[in-house]
Amino acid sequence: MSNGANWSAISMFVLFVGATLVMTYIAARRSRTTDEFYAAGSRFGGAANGLAISGDYMSASTFLGISAMVYAFGFDGILYSIGGTVGWPIILFLIADRLRNLGRYTFADVASYRLDRVSMRGISAAGSLAVITLYLLTQMVGAGALIEVLFGLPYEVAVTLVGILMTLYVTFGGMLATTWVQIVKALLLLFGGTVLALLVLAEFDFSLGKLLEAATVTHALGGAIVGPVGSIGDPITALSLGLAFLFGPAGLPHVLMRFFTVPDAHEARRSALYSTAIIGYFQIVVFFIGLGAIVILAQHPEAKTATGALIGGGNMASVHLAGALVGDLFMGFISAVAFATILAVVAGLTLAASSAVSHDLYAHIIRHGRATDKDIMRVARITPLFVGLIAIGLGILFKGQNVAFLGLLALSIAASVNFPILVLAMFWRGLTTRGALWGGAVGLVVAITLVVLSPAVWVVVMGNESAPYPYDYPTLFSMAASVITTWLVSITDRSARADTDRAGFDKQEERALLGKMADG
């Protein structure tokens, strides 16, 4: 199917695009003010928003990537399933309530609540845009390659199509359309994944033991796949990867902005609960899909090339599984869902970029909070256009490159820059503007430097012999550097600004706990 168009997949995808464009048209009439554009008027309930948040996180890499990991390594794949789950309770435990009560549209609102407005918005916007650009790049490159295989469309056409659609959703439909697209996609993904997992389990009388038994018989690694096979082999990697998974999601701007689409802290809590439950459930579903693929694809030589690799690459395990278990129509459906997933995720990223540029940079830094709603909306609608062009350009430029490490860098930056700033601003009275700026900058520089010096870039991309930094993940060091710098600079900060920063804490704490009630 890699040669020529796959019509059942294409027609189902056209249906999805048609439906989402109708939603965008309807949403456009309710996306005129900044409040509507950034936060959909804060009228979503916790359940709907929880679904949308899980949609933002359940990207093609979760669905296709983790099932591919399980297919290739068995147990080691499930390490990524756990990792993908544990970040969400952290958002609830540390962030959800206070974020909703202190912010309006972006997490920079919270970071700048008592600290210097211009500096904090600047560093928060920089952290956000760095994370968004890296994510967008990995998504575009992944999307192009995936769509080439799934639909038989040329790479450049696929990337351009994704870029145009995400710009349309965001520019015209704002947060409302983006959320609806995200919810529809999340439901489709949950449905498709659940059906696939149930079909797998049905083949083994719903017994995990029988499924595992069969998998160990078929798999090249044999009985070893029920335990670790070495993809996490040293304590530094175990901790770095762990910290990125734990604290990365709480620093992702496109996830954080979703908490402003609900009316109050109570619904923010429920959003976090629903998203955790949905994501956790889906991770287990993906594990069964991966195990099923090991056994079932072994009996389907038509899914493989002459050398025994999967047609279209390891990421196609779940797509081929759908074909093997049901047939072309279901394979088309799963392909269309995978495409829809990418589209919804990039739309969320685009909206987050638009908020950071128009709300943080334009309205608060360039215009010092004196811009009219109309001016801000103009910038908010034009930004997605540039984001779309940049995304298409980067996507084509990086065609065929291995960009997986960039997704990892994005999560590490989120955990080392955005998360410490946000959580220390919320909980630590002693944090000063100077401390947050230095800490954020050090976290950013250390994370980027270590990734450049790591094997993924130094050896694989740049072609050197061996890497100066021998680990794949920077988070343990970059996060520690960020937090220690923030602490050290803050406690030694004797500036007048520092006094204002510390003095503002009580009022902020009151607002963080009471929400609108604090306004009297």
């Binding site: 756990i82 029920v226 335990g227 990697t237 175990a238 009471l514």
Partner: protein, 92 residues
């Protein structure tokens, strides 16, 4: 102690305890993968192939969901009582 200070202390304590338990459990599991792969690969009991590692992984995910549910319940119960009391105090 004022009601507001009580609410602040309650929420901070809850946040700290729940986060700490999750962080220790998850990072501990990751370290077990490095230092005790053999133990994790061993079957959960005789006569099955299901390993300790797979059971612990599923329990970790299920536990994370259960913990969020408990956290929300505790916060809704005690936190909302305090909030209501603060609201009354401020009205009068």
């Amino acid at each position: 102690m004022t009601l507001l200070a009580q609410l602040s202390r309650f929420m901070r304590r809850l946040s700290l305890i729940f986060s700490a338990v999750l962080v220790v459990a998850y990072l501990g599991f990751n370290l077990a993968v490095v230092y005790a792969p053999g133990w994790l690969s061993a079957p959960i009991m005789e006569g099955t192939i299901i390993s300790r590692g797979i059971v612990m992984a599923i329990l970790l995910i299920a536990g994370a969901i259960a913990a969020t549910s408990l956290f929300v319940r505790l916060l809704n119960r005690r936190g909302d009582v305090l909030l209501e009391a603060i609201r009354k105090e401020r009205r009068s």
